[in-house]
């Protein structure tokens, strides 16, 4: 029991330390993001990397989630004779919650892991040291474009996920569950408000920040050859996913 408490205490201490270090990097990123020179080319390359590379997986998860949501909510709503609200349920769940969270998790797995691997490799092969010796600030050159790309691209990916999710729900609702298409759309429009979408997009931007920050942090702190790179990648995915889920809870609590 004492051992358990001790190791728990150590874990908490480590987590706080890590949070502190990430906070410091975040501070540097904010400062450097607004200090010239601005390398737009690097930012665009990262935006392409985060956005385009994750597009397919986001289309896939978004549409399937929308379809499953339609079927599941139909079962519950059918009991109250409120099948016409399937569209509403799908739209609200997608925009407020599942769009941002699932996209966040997918981007963590797809782009966050790749960022950590790339930066981790650069760390252990001394490429980051090399940047520094060439009087290039590695945080500005490597982390800033990735964080900007994360913050900008996540909301865009979430819009995509929302759209295909709602479309998937419509497809199932109208074709499989025989809900009248006019009613389905009317109910969706009636209850879905701009603020629902907007709140989801704010979440997305925060997730994008946290995912890219954790991935870059893990990559920069990789050590000890290929094994260390593998470890930092795993940790980036775990950390990114946990951050998405925890911040989702906090944001939902404060925003709604």
């Amino acid at each position: 029991m004492k051992d358990f408490l001790e190791s728990l205490g150590k874990k908490v201490e480590d987590a706080l330390l890590t949070a502190g270090r990430i906070g410091i990097i975040f501070g540097q990123v904010c400062h450097l993001a607004f200090t010239p020179p601005f390398k737009l080319r690097n930012i665009f390359r990262q935006m392409e990397f985060v956005g385009v590379n994750s597009l397919f997986i986001v289309l896939l998860t978004g549409s399937f989630t929308g379809m499953v949501l339609a079927m599941q909510s139909y079962i519950a709503l059918n009991k109250f004779g409120a099948e016409s609200l399937v569209g509403t349920t799908v739209a609200l769940s997608m925009t407020r919650e599942l769009g941002p969270v699932l996209t966040g998790l997918m981007v963590t797995g797809r782009a966050g892991s790749a960022m950590a691997t790339e930066l981790g490799t650069m760390r252990v092969s001394e490429q980051i040291d090399a940047l520094y010796t060439m009087a290039i600030n590695p945080v500005k050159y490597l982390i800033v474009p990735r964080v900007i790309a994360g913050v900008l691209m996540l909301p865009i990916l979430v819009i995509v996920a929302d759209l295909v999710g709602i479309a998937g729900g419509y497809l199932i609702g109208v074709n499989m569950l025989d809900i009248n298409s006019g009613v389905y759309m009317a109910r969706t429009e009636e209850y879905l408000q701009m603020s629902d979408i907007f709140n989801g997009l704010i979440k997305a931007a925060v997730f994008g920040l946290l995912i890219s920050l954790s991935a870059c942090y893990q990559g920069f702190n990789a050590k000890g050859g290929a094994e260390g790179v593998g470890k930092c990648t795993t940790q980036a995915v775990v950390m990114g996913s946990v951050m998405v889920l925890i911040s989702d809870f906090l944001l939902t609590t404060f925003m709604f």
Binding site: S125, A130, A135
Partner: protein, 248 residues
Amino acid sequence: MIKIRDLKKSFKTKIVLDGVNLDIEKGKITVIIGRSGEGKSVFIKHIIGLIKPDSGHIYLDDKDIVSLSESEHSSILKRFGMLFQGAALFDSMTVAENVGFPLREHTGLSSKDILTTVKEKLRRVGLVGIEDLMPAELSGGMKKRVGLARAIIMDPEVVIFDEPTTGLDPVMSANIGELMLDTQKALKTTYIAITHDIALTFRVADYVAMLHEGRIIAEGTVEEIKNNPNPILQQFLTGSTKGPLQVT
């Protein structure tokens, strides 16, 4: 030109540098020798500011560079070039982009002028027609030479070499040694190299220092080092397993 005074550095409980004192003369090749894991890389990373010491001073032209602010230090870095142990070429860039990187970031030169300079430096290290290859396509010796070309692209006053010949065959090692001499002679650059390659040391060094257990235990010209009776130094130079140095 560089004076190191009482430099100390520990990682957690492990003492790596335990009071290093060394003077590095301008326009000369200083070679620091020592066993693997003795802290040679840690030592030279202090000189270029990649690692901050726990205590001690490093004077560059009588100015202490240990306590400089980030931006002051950044301007000092432009006087340095460094060749890393594994060359540290950027995987995502071609050879030409790697070598020209400092020029692209720090000068307003046109791409055409940059390419001309890059080709000129690559020719000087004996590489022609490889501008468009990726680092992954190069052999170890070629990587080192590209790394050298990148380190000298801005014509720095000081170039630091972290084990320039490790992992290379003897002929390629000799070639790297010759390239070091050639490139150094042209501009009378100050070169600092760390290595455990004795042949290279004797070939290029103007001055030799041996790092052992966190201190410089012997130093001098090649002649002086060869005649130094220190048993640790002599065992290291002859590569014998018998003597004060233990294999653990």
